[in-house]
Subunit: 465 residues, 2 copies
């Protein structure tokens, strides 16, 4: 084997040096994109909402079509065996205020695709966003990624229309992949669910349907300051965008951060076992819902949906309906002039590796109202009582409207000082820079979906420093 | 929040810029270290072997002490509930020559520590290696990392002596962490086992026991050219060493590589279910062993061990004994002047994420002797027939001697050309640089233990380019 000069052109740089600068141009463009001004987006979304009939109605389980409690009630499943099932989970933890519990959980072993198409117009990268109806969203229609497809979607279990633009993500050699990573979703509600988060750049002309618009990163950042406009699937993909960092350093080096994370994972043990719904303690199934005995956490319910622009025009399905408004917040400080956020190495029963990095606060206060003192979640009360002068970002966002009903949460970024949250925080917490979160979000199993929602707000300029 | 100049010193660089250069000095030192010349290591190992009585004897299961087939034979377990169990596994794959099978498997949910202590002598980093006896090694004594401890070890289930130097890894603030990552082990023999791979640098004086010696990376590289000297635990930690790369580029960018890997993971489905040993089809349990009906793959056996320098002086335990000599090989080519190796995205039933990057060839030929044509493993015959002029590296190494009995394999790096292995290889294969493998080995679930063994040979200069 000798190296021939003739094959030198085959080599590529391992990193695309110009990419961060190009994305910075997209980030800087906050008021107008190639197609729409940011002000016009509201009208366009209202117009799309009018263009689509979409009625969501609660129904009893008995009226579910193609869905049944099978195996003597062990699982709620679709006749095709596809989509997802609702099953029981038994959890035994080694630490925390609650050491063991049962719960229903959504099991969806298929890997779906959440894909954003990117294209330059006048030298500025734009992302192709979709106005998409989802039955669980409180306002039904939100901005989603270009493609949001379960494997059942695109292998036609619905026998509905094809998923538009899917070909760019199934065969990414049609463009250039800028990000492609498997990421977890809600570890308290999903059993080991992962989705493929992709950003693909194209040069060719892309025909645009009525439900699609090209927007800049800066425009999306403006929209992320509003309640319930940018959906969870868009947020998680935006978190994986290869934004550059000009941070002068960090409180901890990357190796120290990885080592702390490894230690957190190694010291936690959580035993998790799927089991029949009928054996789940402390929950009961009624004709309309499966509920916790004390009314906490969430219910499993059923809805019927009639829509015009979905893969099929009418269907029924189960949804998970959380109780209460979640509070999801990063505490933030400048350290040596560089913004840092306080991450929490949080154990969640449905995560494949048990631990991922969560926001400082990720709780639904109602679920913890019965706890006091040391059992109160750390920093929760600090966020709940934060004055407006220290709230750097606040908006209400919904979780995935295809699985969750009215799953809204307050997302915040709150300024704190040494007295509130010291540089040497309690065990399980660590100060990291946004650049470090991006470094981790390039790989699976590090940054949980709630932290990725807030990272999307950092990546798009929705949170100013 | 305003940035005060007073707190600027708190910031650190995210990467340690001088580290790669320091490790390069250690790599360059191949003939002599601070304590021993490389030639003297053989004598020292022979002396340590003489110093320790160590007798390993096969016994029937009935003579196992503290180990029993419990729950009507469902699992082979230790009375303490610690260490590991042998259970049954049922696997259903969506592709490959065999679509479903049962097998026994070792289940060890605890996370252990494999730790290397590093210290500079005369400006050259040295690693503290241990001469360690393990019952499954064909030659019993090999070089292991400084610390090799299961959680059961260091929480004293053995009630034996303490693990030396463990304090540096349990509380790494005593030194500086250079690497710390959870890595999988053999996915065909272990169910979801992970260990913590750590390298910690210290400045303080470290008292050295008779079984320990400081060696340079270059010395370890020389020893890796010999058969059965450097054990698996040392190899996997060495694979995680933060060696620098001066590669001019790569055939695929890092993002392209990650995207290909993500696609490989997303397209594969493997259903894996633990079950009682008594329900495992095609395997039978005798008084001395559990064997496959056709005599393939491996057996579960039992041994008694008497030793002088282990945590306890006498014990019995089960071991997994593979049948046949494994062949583990990277094909390699220079592309644009830069060495590349051909990785295989290989599904293994015991891996948490199903797929990790394996060497080009990772098979025990005997297990595939009954297959022919397209069902023969790709590239296996190419490696088996490679002439000496194309074999860049060849040595026999053992897998973990605490769990596996005589688990030897031929590790090779073989030069090939476009006709043997094209730049556009078959599905599931990809050309990557050693630097890219190191980039991935910094994170869990990317590079499997066999590929890490070969990466250790690349990292230490055992394979010259």
């Amino acid at each position: 084997m000798t190296a021939g000069l003739f094959d030198l052109p085959r080599l590529r740089a391992r990193e695309d040096a110009g990419l961060a600068e190009r994305l910075a141009r997209s980030l800087a463009e906050t008021t107008a994109g190639w197609q729409l001004s940011t002000a016009q987006v509201t009208d366009w979304l209202a117009e799309r909402a009018l263009a689509h009939r979409f009625v969501v109605e609660r129904i009893p389980f008995a009226r579910l079509d193609q869905w049944d409690f099978v195996e003597d009630g062990a699982r709620l499943a679709h006749h095709s065996g596809k989509f997802f099932t609702v099953e029981g989970l038994r959890v035994t933890a080694d630490q925390g205020p609650v050491l063991s519990w049962d719960q229903p959980i959504i099991r969806q072993p298929e890997v779906g695709i959440l894909g954003l198409l990117l294209k330059e117009f006048d030298g500025v990268p734009h992302l192709l966003m979709q106005a998409k109806m989802e039955p669980g969203n409180p306002n039904l229609l939100q901005l989603s990624p270009t493609v949001q497809a379960t494997r059942s979607n695109y292998t036609k279990v619905h026998r509905g229309s094809e998923v538009r633009y899917l070909e760019y993500f199934v065969d990414p050699t049609r463009g250039r992949v800028l990000a492609d990573v498997l990421q977890s979703e809600q570890g308290s509600w999903f059993h080991q669910k992962i989705n493929r988060n992709m950003i693909v750049e194209v040069d060719e002309d892309v025909p645009i349907g009525d439900d699609f618009r090209w927007l800049t990163l800066g425009q999306i950042g403006e929209l992320l300051r509003r309640d319930n406009v940018v959906n969870m699937d868009a947020r998680t993909v935006l978190a994986c965008a290869p934004i550059g960092s000009d941070e002068a350093g960090a409180l901890h080096s990357d190796t120290e951060l990885l080592s702390w994370f490894t230690a957190e994972r190694a010291r936690r043990e959580m035993r998790v076992e799927l089991m029949p719904l009928t054996e789940v303690n402390d929950w009961r199934r009624g004709p309309w819902s499966i509920d916790h005995d004390a009314g906490r956490y969430f219910s499993i319910v059923a809805v019927s949906v009639a829509a015009g622009n979905r893969e099929v025009t009418r269907w029924t399905q189960p949804l998970l309906e959380p109780h209460g408004l979640a509070v999801t917040a990063f505490l933030t400080r400048r350290i040596g002039g560089v913004p840092h956020v306080l991450v929490h190495a949080k154990a969640e029963a449905g995560l494949r590796d048990t631990i991922e990095l969560a926001p400082t606060v990720q709780y639904t206060p109602e679920n913890y109202a019965h706890l006091s003192g040391a059992d109160r979640p750390p920093f929760l009360d600090l966020v709940l009582t934060a004055g407006p002068e220290s709230v750097r970002y606040r908006a209400i966002h919904s979780e995935e409207g295809g699985r969750f009903l009215n799953a809204e949460g307050r997302y915040l970024v709150v300024d704190v000082n040494e007295a509130d949250a010291p540089l040497d925080p309690p065990p399980g917490f660590r100060w990291v820079t946004p650049g470090q979160l991006r470094f981790l979000a390039r790989h699976p199993h590090y940054v949980n979906v709630q932290a990725r929602s807030l990272l999307a707000c950092l990546n798009t300029g929705a949170v100013g420093w």
